[in-house]
């Protein structure tokens, strides 16, 4: 047997050509496969300040990595089943993170659509991944200016504990914007994003490296600085009253959960932190919804979990379709109570 010599064909150059042709063919096949397996829309920087990033308008997506969903973004690039036109009247504006972005469930199963169905109102969803409470609080003014919902603004959150620096930056309007489009400053990544397969492979390779993506730490239950939190909430309340939209603000909190060793459900949240948050919200005219009780009762009833999909770990990750339903139902109940009171 000869050593490492290429003797199957004419030359090494010929082999390289074959590798190149095969590589291109393989990439085409993989791209087509990825189009129907995992082709989420990509973020772009949003310049109107309503959200830090946005998707391409009318972008079809297939997401089978966490849950299964097929859908299309609307004219603005948000995950809604209807378009938003300037001057359109909206009843409810839903802000939040990737849970509201909801690429793990079908479009008609996400919170915004269910809520719209229950309330028979126009609920507009501008949830985008990475938009946790501080980002939503920072973007509230711009969101109200643009959409001016007549009834409610709902901010979805999954974490209640924040540092003093975070609160200070919200108050001082210096909270850093999310680096909107992943890779907008990097031409190579920008090019790669356009191909769903290359982007998928890139993310997977990137995931093997340590400290790759910033994630929110849900495990910290430290008490918030009450003065700073009160200031943030007061500022949000002021923003709402200045907007003259007449909408009321609901902060809807869905805590992380886990399974205890005895099989019961554990709410990964400190009741004291939740109580403090709730009290301060109340003092500032903001409604606070805590999903803890609903999650526990739903689990006790028939072991339904709000998080996790049939292709991921149970009780973790994003809200699944049951989680969205519970969330929408509880928000709807609260909306009904508020409207009944007023």
């Amino acid at each position: 047997m000869k050593s490492f010599e290429y003797n199957g064909h004419r030359s090494w150059g010929y082999l390289c050509l074959k590798i190149l042709v095969s590589g291109i063919l393989a990439l085409i096949i993989l791209t087509l496969l990825c189009k129907i397996y995992d082709d989420p829309p990509q973020h772009h920087i949003n310049l109107d300040g309503v959200t830090d990033r946005i998707f391409a308008p009318y972008r079809r997506y297939f997401c089978f990595q966490e849950g299964f969903s097929v859908g299309k973004t609307n004219n603005e690039g948000y995950n809604n089943t209807f378009d938003f036109e300037k001057g359109m009247s909206l009843d409810v504006l839903l802000m939040g993170s990737s849970h509201m972005e909801a690429f793990g469930v079908m479009q008609d199963e996400n919170t915004a659509n269910l809520l719209g169905e229950f309330a028979n109102e126009r609920v507009y969803n501008i949830g985008v991944s990475g938009h946790f409470f501080p980002t939503c609080a920072s973007n509230l003014k711009a969101a109200l200016r643009k959409y001016a919902p007549s009834k409610f603004v709902i901010i979805e959150i999954m974490n209640l504990s924040f540092t003093d620096e975070t609160f200070a930056s919200i108050i001082n309007h210096t909270f850093p914007h999310i680096d909107g489009a992943v890779g907008t400053r990097n031409p190579l990544r920008e090019f790669m994003r356009e191909n769903p397969y290359i982007y998928r492979a890139y993310l997977n390779i990137f995931h093997f490296l340590p400290n790759k993506f910033p994630t929110q730490d849900y495990s910290s239950f430290s008490q918030n600085n009450p003065e700073l939190l009160a200031k943030v909430l007061a500022q949000m309340s002021d923003t709402l009253s200045q907007s003259k939209s007449g909408a009321r603000l609901i902060i809807a909190y869905h805590p992380p959960v886990s399974l205890n060793l005895d099989g019961s459900l554990k709410i990964e949240s400190d009741p004291q932190v939740s109580r403090q948050f709730s009290e301060l919200c109340e003092q500032n005219g903001i409604y606070f919804l805590d999903m803890s009780e609903r999650f526990l009762s739903e689990y006790a009833k028939d072991y339904t979990l709000p998080y996790g999909f049939i292709n991921t770990s149970v009780a973790s990750g994003h809200l699944n379709r049951y989680g969205h339903r519970m969330f929408a139902e509880e928000i709807y109940k609260l909306m009904q109570r508020i409207e009944a009171q007023s």
Partner: protein, 458 residues
């Protein structure tokens, strides 16, 4: 530096190209010294202190095998690896068990289990025993012997390569890196990666969930988790073996097949001929046969089977659950021996169900958890339902591969169904494209969380 980490990929590429350069410009001895250094570097990556233990075991095997005609040297050659294994792997286990039995407290030793110790001590043992039996000549070149024991592809999780298989390869001048070896090797590696990071690692998410809190899950979900674990451990370990075999092949060396479609087996006896073949063969040749095998009557044969399987269980881990797992398998083997002539083989479904049942004890961290899994199934427990997608995907892959292997064996008129890794001709555009698509699928579907190989703990 696990096989599926980026650092290993870089390490292997570096080893490959340096070996290629040495092959081109220097002699075989330089290549062996380099591969030996690389293997120690690979091992030292976990903890450099482990290298001294590896070197010690190798030195002892070298010296004792040189004098293995003398009984004392032979006993020493067998005892030393076993003592090393006993101290590092089983000392605390026995102390804890003794404490449990006597009710007295014994001080636990602060010992770190050196990765792969069960594998390389068995290789060292097989070398000393084979030399003593006259099956292979003494290896006078220390570098070659050290390379045999420490060769990085098989060092930490097997397969347990026999000296009689590997040492002759080091004496063959034709063992070189060639394009043909490389193209075969990378395809075997790719298959290993697919099994490990696409199938086994995804399944592990579900299995870990259920085995952590069995009392929370619905009985049907628990059954799916038990079946899933059977698949996970197969894809994990055979995937590792494939990567090891592929790496060795790229460098010009051949390893024996370690898994041969185990879940196609129609009896537990057949299963053990197809599962972890290098270990089963080792236990047969160096434990079962020396203690009498089937030469001393039926009863002694059954006793010998039980001893072999109990020790085989213990080899897997210092925990009574492993011993029990070995015992269950031993019991099944004994029953098959007793009823061999009265009844035909139990059949594929029964065998798979039994093997899956025994894996419960292998996977559960203790008997309490194992019992929770079993009672969850047999009491038709209510709980969380999780029809895990990746489990069904893996079942389909396994079923298809077994059907293909069966059809292939029938076409070739082979009486035994044999697994194979489909090797494409990478000289053609079709072959290359298919291979690239396969690699692309692995990259695209890879599980990206932390998940070491199951067999690393052994």
């Amino acid at each position: 530096m696990i096989f599926t980490s980026p650092v290993f990929v870089l390490f292997f590429l570096a080893v490959f190209f340096v070996t290629l350069a040495i092959q081109k410009f220097a002699n075989d001895r330089a290549k062996y010294i380099f591969l030996l250094s690389a293997s120690y570097f690979f091992y030292g990556w976990w903890d450099w202190r482990f290298c001294f233990l590896l070197l010690f075991v190798t030195l002892m095997s070298y010296v004792t095998a040189m004098n293995s005609r003398k009984k004392f040297a032979y006993i020493l050659g067998v005892a030393i690896p076993l003592i090393v294994l006993g101290i590092f792997k089983y000392c605390n286990f026995f102390l804890d068990s003794l404490a449990l039995l006597t009710g007295r407290e014994f001080m636990s030793l602060q010992i770190i289990l050196p990765v792969g110790i069960s594998f390389y001590t068995f290789q060292a043992l097989s070398y000393v025993i084979d030399v003593h039996r006259g099956k292979i000549p003494v290896e006078r070149d220390f570098v070659k012997l050290a390379l045999y024991i420490s060769f990085f592809p098989q060092l930490v999780a097997g397969p347990i390569v026999r000296a009689s298989d590997f040492l002759p390869q080091l004496n063959e001048s034709g063992r070189k890196i060639t394009l043909q070896n490389f193209t075969i090797g990378v395809q075997i590696i790719a298959m290993g990666f697919f099994k490990k990071i696409v199938l086994a690692d995804h399944i592990s998410v579900f299995v870990d969930d259920v085995f952590r809190v069995p009392v929370a899950f619905h009985w049907a979900t628990i059954i799916l988790a038990v079946v899933s674990y059977s698949l996970q451990i197969y894809f994990d370990f055979s995937g590792y073996s494939d990567i090891a075999t592929g790496c060795a092949k790229c460098l010009g060396y051949d390893f024996v097949m370690n898994f041969n479609l185990p879940y196609i087996s129609r009896s537990v006896t057949e299963f053990w001929r197809r599962w972890h073949i290098s270990l089963s063969g080792w236990l047969r040749d160096y434990l079962y046969i020396p203690i009498g095998g089937n030469r001393l009557g039926k009863f002694r044969q059954l006793v010998n089977i039980m001893i072999t399987m109990l020790l085989g269980g213990l080899w897997h881990g210092a925990n009574w659950t492993f011993v029990f797992w070995g015992g269950l398998n031993g019991l099944a083997l004994c029953l098959e021996k007793i009823f061999a002539r009265k009844k035909s083989a139990p059949g594929n479904f029964v065998t798979f169900s039994f093997i899956s049942f025994t894996w419960i004890f292998f996977r559960a961290e203790n008997f309490v958890k194992a019992w929770q899994v079993i009672t969850g199934i047999f009491t038709f427990q209510d709980g969380i339902s999780q029809p895990f997608f990746w489990s069904f995907f893996a079942i389909v892959i396994l079923a298809v591969s077994q059907i293909v292997a069966t059809v292939k064996s029938r076409r070739e008129n082979s009486s035994v169904v044999t697994g194979f890794c489909p090797i494409m001709n990478l000289n053609t555009i079709t072959g290359l494209t298919t291979f690239f698509v396969f690699v692309g699928i692995i990259l695209g579907l890879a599980f990206t969380g932390e998940n070491p190989f199951v067999y690393f703990q052994f």
